[in-house]
């Protein structure tokens, strides 16, 4: 593994598989244990540096670090020195001076983790940067697919929704491609980036033709505010053309699964009955997120004090 996890596009097949296999080993090691804790990162300090509110991702990383016995510091940009104008660099140097071994960063600016990695000696884990990447989400999604379907090679994945603004979509496209899956992105043309032709994906504007050919349907969150910028005419029209409802789910193969990174807009991109159905992996994804993040922290920090 490299020192940082900045983007899924960085991971080669061996590294990505190592993360998934390590997560599986961690799951096995903890299965059935009363005390769900490993001593691996005892004495190491992990900082969660969150410039955006994201309770679920922050909690997932916090739990992952604590289950590895690391000390965890949560640094939220709100109500801190950051709100008084401290720069990202100064914050990073401050945290490092306090002895952090890894910084898990969530930031609204694409590339912020890359900048951070230039300024600190410890490891940087990207927990979502702007509209760029969210690599641990893609890793946990790949882990979930492998768990449910038993493989990734040749699995046909439809990624549906606001690809343009989605860091989850970008990370999944690169990681799934690296792992041998076949990805189709489905969205209205306004929600696809202009340069998508250079991505290793098929592109479709029509969800109904893609669904019967999909083993996995990954729904993306669509923010209603995009409507105001004319990316689509109305929430109702979006839902009608690109929402996953029971009628559409009926077109899926019997063992096909439905994924969503959360938080969901029930009734917008996904119908409640679909989200709660047996095909849905949404709750598993959350649980797998902790295991995969444990694997990432374990692999980056080497498990021993240097």
């Amino acid at each position: 593994m490299k020192r940082h996890l900045l983007e899924a596009a960085d991971l080669d097949r061996a590294d990505a598989t190592l993360v998934l296999d390590t997560a599986a080993q961690i799951d096995q090691a903890l299965a059935g244990r009363e005390v769900k804790k490993l001593p691996t990162l005892r004495g190491r300090t992990v900082v969660n540096l969150f410039y955006e509110d994201s309770t679920r991702t922050r909690i997932s990383f916090e739990l992952a670090a604590k289950r590895l016995s690391a000390d965890v510091i949560n640094f939220s940009a709100k109500g801190s020195s950051v709100s008084k104008g401290e720069s990202l660099k100064d914050t990073a140097l401050t945290l490092e001076a306090m002895g952090s071994d890894a910084i898990v960063v969530r930031h609204s600016a694409s590339g912020a983790p890359h900048r951070l990695a230039n300024w600190v000696r410890g490891s940087v884990v990207n927990a979502g940067d702007g509209t760029h990447e969210h690599p641990t989400q893609a890793l946990l999604d790949a882990y979930t697919i492998r768990q449910r379907l038993g493989r990734l090679e040749g699995v046909r994945v439809a990624v549906v929704g606001d690809v343009l603004h989605s860091r989850v979509a970008r990370s999944n496209v690169w990681l799934l491609h690296t792992l041998g899956a076949e990805v189709t992105v489905v969205a209205p043309p306004t929600l696809l980036p202009v340069g998508i032709g250079s991505w290793p994906v098929e592109v479709s504007y029509d969800l109904d033709t893609v669904l019967p050919k999909s083993d996995v349907v990954m729904m993306l969150r669509v923010q209603a505010e995009r409507m105001n910028a004319s990316f689509f005419p109305s929430a109702r029209e979006y839902s009608r053309r690109y929402g996953l409802d029971a009628r559409r789910v009926a077109a899926l193969a019997d063992d096909a699964i439905v994924m969503h990174p959360g938080p969901m807009n029930r009734g917008m991109e996904i119908a409640a009955e679909v989200a709660d159905s047996a095909r849905s992996t949404i709750v598993e994804q959350v649980g797998n997120g902790v295991s995969v993040r444990m694997a990432v922290l374990y692999l980056l920090l080497g498990g021993s004090t240097q």
Binding site: D129, H132, G195, W199
Partner: protein, 428 residues
């Protein structure tokens, strides 16, 4: 002071001695001698007319921590310039006779290059009503170039009026071509790389749409239009079309758009963030071809100093712009001269003659000939050096060429017969 420049090659042609006295070129010929003259050994050096920049940000008044008229003038002289146009987006904005005269006087006091203020087109660069263009034209600064650079004069009716109005004093509107509704939040060129990097795209069409509109307006009202920092292949095509129709349009390209592409953004290092953004290989090729065939008239540096804290940040938070004065000629040598696209007379034309003509500057952009003002530079074309931002004369360090080896070294610059640079060092 009298200088006897020995053995320089004017325009890279046959070697000759150049005698400079009383601010003018007194003689050009073989084996000249002059008693009391300071001899400058220029064997192997190329003599060119002093360079003229149509597009410089000197940051004074307002951001003297990033650059001052004096530090920017020194950077310009070291780059071989004898005149620079100081853009209007200072604080306060150069939208009154008072501010442009202040900048002009600061330039005179520094005395290293002629600092020619650009006047804002609209009050406060806000794009709503015309600034007092006539007052700036009539001031001691004799403003002829007007620009809201940094902002586009987006309102087509206002742009039309500005184009028409400045005809009264032979002015020109220099447009920052960027349709603002198409570039909300834009961070880099919109294409394959922006899609991957998750940075909001700045589409080429946002520049081309404004240029197309403005050449039609300029043609309609018979006014002069200058297009700042042309960055796309499509813009070059539109300019070629307009010139073919007889529209009085001129255009500039920056050194960085001649050399760098949007691949630089992959580092997320905001030193490469600039507006308009770095484009693709195809755009770079079209810009070089456009400069070679004269569709693009001039090189304008868009020298844009920024304090460290305005660049050492997340990409989206960083301010756009990069240094250019000290490396402009080197970049032109690398991209245009060494590949055979321009000869030295071509360099003189695009970096001195035409920009001086666009700015209506007297005494600059003149030929190297007896009786002409002694605004000239001496260049060692064979020298190569790695750019070290810490060694730059600019007060800022945001050079996109850091660590890059570039050809050519300005050995001396003369402003009206006074050396501003000798032996590659600033004289004052």
């Amino acid at each position: 002071m009298t200088y006897l420049i020995k053995g320089a090659r004017p325009y890279g042609e046959a070697a000759a001695d150049i005698l400079v006295t009383d601010g003018r070129i007194a003689a050009i010929g073989e084996s000249l001698s002059a008693t009391g003259a300071q001899v400058v050994d220029a064997a192997g050096l190329i003599a060119l007319p002093g360079l003229v920049d149509l597009h410089t940000h000197l940051r004074e008044p307002g951001r003297e921590d990033a650059e001052t008229v004096e530090t920017g003038s020194r950077a310009a002289a070291l780059g071989g310039f004898t005149a620079v146009h100081a853009m209007a987006n200072t604080d306060p904005v150069a939208d009154t006779a008072g501010v442009v005269e202040q900048v002009w006087r600061l330039g005179q006091e520094a005395g290293l290059v002629d600092v020619v203020p650009v006047g804002a087109v609209t009050v406060g660069l806000e794009g709503e009503r015309l600034a007092e263009l006539g007052a700036m034209a009539d001031s001691a600064a004799r403003v002829r170039v007007f620009s809201d650079d940094g902002h586009c004069v987006a309102d087509p009716a206002l742009m039309r009026r500005a184009l028409e109005y400045v005809k009264a004093f032979d002015g020109v509107v220099a447009q920052h071509a960027e349709e603002p509704r198409l570039t909300t939040g834009a961070q880099m060129h919109e294409g394959d790389r922006s899609a991957r990097l998750g940075l909001t795209g700045w589409p080429a069409a946002a520049e081309e749409a404004i240029i197309a509109r403005d050449v039609l307006l300029a043609g309609h009202v018979g006014a002069r239009l200058h297009v700042c920092h042309v960055s796309t292949a499509g813009s070059v095509e539109i300019l070629r079309w307009a010139k073919g129709r007889g529209v009085q349009v001129t255009a500039e390209v920056t050194p960085h758009h001649l050399l760098l592409t949007d691949a630089c953004a992959e580092s997320y290092d905001p030193v490469f963030k600039v507006n308009p953004p770095l484009r693709t290989d195809d755009d770079v090729a079209a810009l070089r071809a456009g400069l070679a065939d004269g569709t693009i008239d001039a090189v304008g540096t868009d020298h844009a100093p920024h304090a460290v804290e305005d660049k050492e940040s997340e990409w989206a938070q960083a301010r756009p712009g990069m240094l250019g004065l000290e490396q402009a000629l080197s970049v032109v040598i690398e991209t245009m001269v060494e590949p055979g696209r321009l000869d030295w007379r071509g360099v003189a034309d695009r970096m001195s003659v035409r920009p001086a003509a666009i700015g209506r500057l007297d005494g600059h952009g003149r030929p190297l000939a007896v009786g002409e003002p002694a605004n000239l530079l001496l260049l060692d074309p064979g020298a190569r050096a790695v750019v070290d931002p810490a060694a730059l004369a600019s007060r800022s360090r945001n050079s996109p060429y850091a660590g890059r080896e570039l050809p050519g070294r300005v050995v001396a610059t003369f402003l009206r017969g006074t050396a501003t640079v000798l032996d590659g060092e600033a004289v004052t």
